[in-house]
């Protein structure tokens, strides 16, 4: 910022002010090298580098990271991040329970993404910002349903921000999954279904038709599911151990993380058919690239219409896109009249291009 001449008076900003300006201090939330930051409250939202105080939207690894001094999150997310991050300093709050930090009001609201996932509402002197974290507008019967919040500025993900993404109702998809399981069983084959350990796996478990057969789990899925059983009603599962015989698994279904695909752990299930549950399965190329026999289009993110409707319902005039097809999505929002921009973050959404190494427990 250069000195400006206004009616004969030279205004010179002090170095301190200059610094603040470069950080765009007029904004309630800014993006810095560590995360989404509220300078006024000195709090970070889903930071990707260690900070003093962090508000965490949900338990996925790109949002809930290791190393912060204090974690504030929804009650239902606490068992998850404790399980994943170990002994950390946590404080839980409920939905819609405002807390004040340095005069700024923060509250958490359901995001519908996975169990325990929140949006963060931030208000200061009547101005409201919402950070959605990851979210989906469809009620999946597992996560507390997404709640639309009115705001001035919405910081939204757009993982599937392309008109090519259009989800079917989940009842249809689970109908396909159960029919697939049944048909594999008739062919004398085991069904192996891949979905993320946290969120997708429990959503799958909830809707598998247990009249067809037994549900077996990979260790990573079993552990996370155990953590969530106190909060969620789910059918019984059997952990696959070295002692589990190949014969007893035959014809049943195995739920495993995507990283188990192609690993020696799978040998016991021969003959088997593989299925993958992901929004990316909408693309034929993605299906064959994953070398999965069957792709089920099932996502915990909004599809194109879901994103647009959520933004519209928020009444926000300014939209900041964080991860996904940000260039395309924000350009379209600008055409619709929004003040839309992009900020780079370390969030990944529903990973597709990068392989997701998830440790396979030896059990």
């Amino acid at each position: 910022m250069l000195p400006t001449l206004v009616s004969g008076i030279i205004l010179v900003f002090s170095p301190r002010k200059l610094n603040q300006l470069s950080m765009n201090s007029s904004d309630l939330l800014v993006f810095d090298s560590k995360g989404i930051y509220c300078p006024r409250a000195k709090v970070y939202l889903d930071p990707w580098k260690p900070v003093d105080r962090a508000i965490i939207t949900h338990g996925h690894a790109d949002h809930a990271r290791f190393g912060h001094r204090n974690y504030l999150t929804h009650h239902s997310n606490i068992p998850i991040i404790r399980h994943r991050l170990g002994a950390i300093n946590t404080q839980g709050i409920g939905w819609n329970e405002p807390i004040q930090i340095n005069g700024v009001t923060f509250s958490l609201h359901p995001a519908g993404h996975i169990i325990g996932s929140s949006q963060v509402r931030v208000e200061y002197k009547g101005e409201v910002w919402v950070f959605t974290g990851d979210y989906k507008s469809e009620d999946d019967g597992v996560a507390t349903p997404y709640e639309s919040i009115r705001c001035n500025t919405m910081i939204t993900e757009c993982t599937f921000g392309l008109p090519a993404f259009k989800w079917k109702p989940q009842a249809t998809v689970f109908g396909e999954i159960n029919a697939w399981w049944q048909s594999n069983q008739q062919d004398g084959k085991t069904s192996v279904l891949f979905g993320y350990t946290l969120g997708k796996a429990q959503r799958i478990l909830k809707y598998l038709d247990t009249s067809i057969g037994e549900i077996y789990t990979h260790g990573a899925v079993e552990n996370m599911t155990e953590v969530l059983r106190p909060q969620l009603e789910m059918p019984p599962t059997k952990l696959i151990t070295p002692n589990t015989s190949a014969k007893e698994i035959r014809g049943n279904i195995v739920v495993a993380p995507p990283s188990a695909h192609g690993s020696p752990w799978m040998r016991k299930f021969v003959p088997f058919e593989t299925g993958t549950c992901s929004g990316w399965m909408a693309f034929r190329g993605a299906r064959s690239r994953r070398a999965t026999d069957k792709g089920f289009v099932l996502s915990d993110h909004c599809d194109w219409q879901g994103l647009l409707q959520s933004i519209k319902a928020s009444d926000a005039s300014r939209v900041i896109c964080t991860h996904g097809y940000t260039d395309i999505f924000s350009r379209y929002l600008r055409e619709l009249g929004y003040d839309a921009s992009i900020e780079n973050t370390d969030y990944e959404g529903e990973k597709e291009e990068i392989a997701t190494p998830e440790p396979i427990p030896s059990a």
Binding site: A164, F283, A286, S288, R289, K294, I328, E353, A355
Partner: protein, 532 residues
Amino acid sequence: MKSFAELIEKLDATNKTNQKVAALAGYFAQASELDKLWTIAILSHRRPPRPVNTTLLRTYAAELAEIPLWLFEESYHIVGDLAESIALVVPNDEHTSDKSLSKILQELVQLKSKTDPEKKEYVQDMWMQLDYYSRFVFTKLLTGSFRIGISQKLMTKALSQVTSVPDDELAYRLMGNWSPGDTTFDELVFGRNEQAYVSKPYPFYLAYALENEVHELGDVSDWAVEHKWDGIRGQVIVRKKEIFIWSRGEELVTEKYPEIAQLANVLPEGTVLDGEILAFVENQVGLFNDLQTRIGRKNVSKAVLAKVPVIFKAYDLLEFAGKDIRNLSYQDRRELLEALVNDTSHPVLQLSEQKNFTSWEEVVAERELAREKRSEGLMLKKKSAPYQVGRKKGDWWKWKIDPLTIDAVLTYAMRGHGRRTNLFTDYTFGLWQRNEKGENELVTFAKAYSGLTDKEFAQVDNIIKRTTLERFGPVRSVEPTLVFELAFEGIAFSNRHKSGVAVRFPRILRWRKDKKIGDANTLDDLKALIPT
């Protein structure tokens, strides 16, 4: 249409040959005669001509989806397949159309001559009446390209299971100049249409690349050795005083090669020759690149005819005096061929020289002469073998010379297609050249999209995404950091290329992680490889 779409979905969902054949056989067993006929036509690349151009299809789709055209284009770049993009954005998932495949294809044939508003109404209407997968298949039929990993061989196998007509016999019947409009399923498969046989070529016998050491083939005297010519494989048929020239891609190319068509008057009735269409400039076999000017044109001008004349280098005789002699031994066919070519004595019909060797060492030495003779290497054919159908191992081997290679720098990358959508797998390469200002710059000379493992592609993709300079739709220019060793089969000067050089079949041999971009070759190094 629904059952055909389900068939395509099954074929697309598996890469196991048995499952594909089973899916096809199941479909053939229940489909109507007319649907079967059209299915065979589509799977053997006999689609109706494209009735609506793809630019129009894009606007129709964007309009139905209520999105701006640029947004449709962006989606298409990411999805990587036009029909799939359209199927995805059109907002409907109810299948209400009960039209059969054959009905739809007949409508597409008629659609071509309709007005644009009529086309638009028909296409949008169909899209709204089909569920996602049927819409995808329907749009594939509209756009033409139908790569679903079904070879003609698999289709023939499935059809053979259902009809009990042997594979090889079917392969023959399905060849040549037919379209669903002028035959029936019965006529085509059970062969009741004698007229169609006049132009019908035999399935080409295709060689595999030599796998083991050449001396492991046994006694050298059992093998006929000739050069592997670098032109267009073709079949010349003379029946009922007419001549037909077929390319190996089953394209009728008689009009493109009037020199060869003259043979109609000199070859005896009932002759089918297998051989190579070759450029023949100044009494010398030309390069494949010379033929380029002949390949694309249907009507050849006098100037082009004079500049790049062609010959037919014959290497086999499949029909003699109206009799199918494919079951005779190679040696016996060869004797008949030699006599025929000598009797014909026409400058356009030449014999591919067969050489006799007393040791494999001599064969090895002959292969070394390939570049000099302007061939791609050698063909080794078992003297006692019949002429087989399709690609079969054992009796014919191709033994190519090692490719030419050069180290080049990756300059542009494009998203791949199909399985490789979302990965940058199609690359453009440059070589160094000093410009007028005396600076070294990279000049584009080739594109290549094969030769790396999936793992390497993923790594390169990652680097491309991190080093992108500019984006042009699906293409990105990247900061030059990567060096690859490229291989190619042929090389020639060319006015059509910015670099002034055309290379044939460029592909990636390996990623030279050990080299910096300054270590890559120069354009002059490449030019030095051009034979004089």
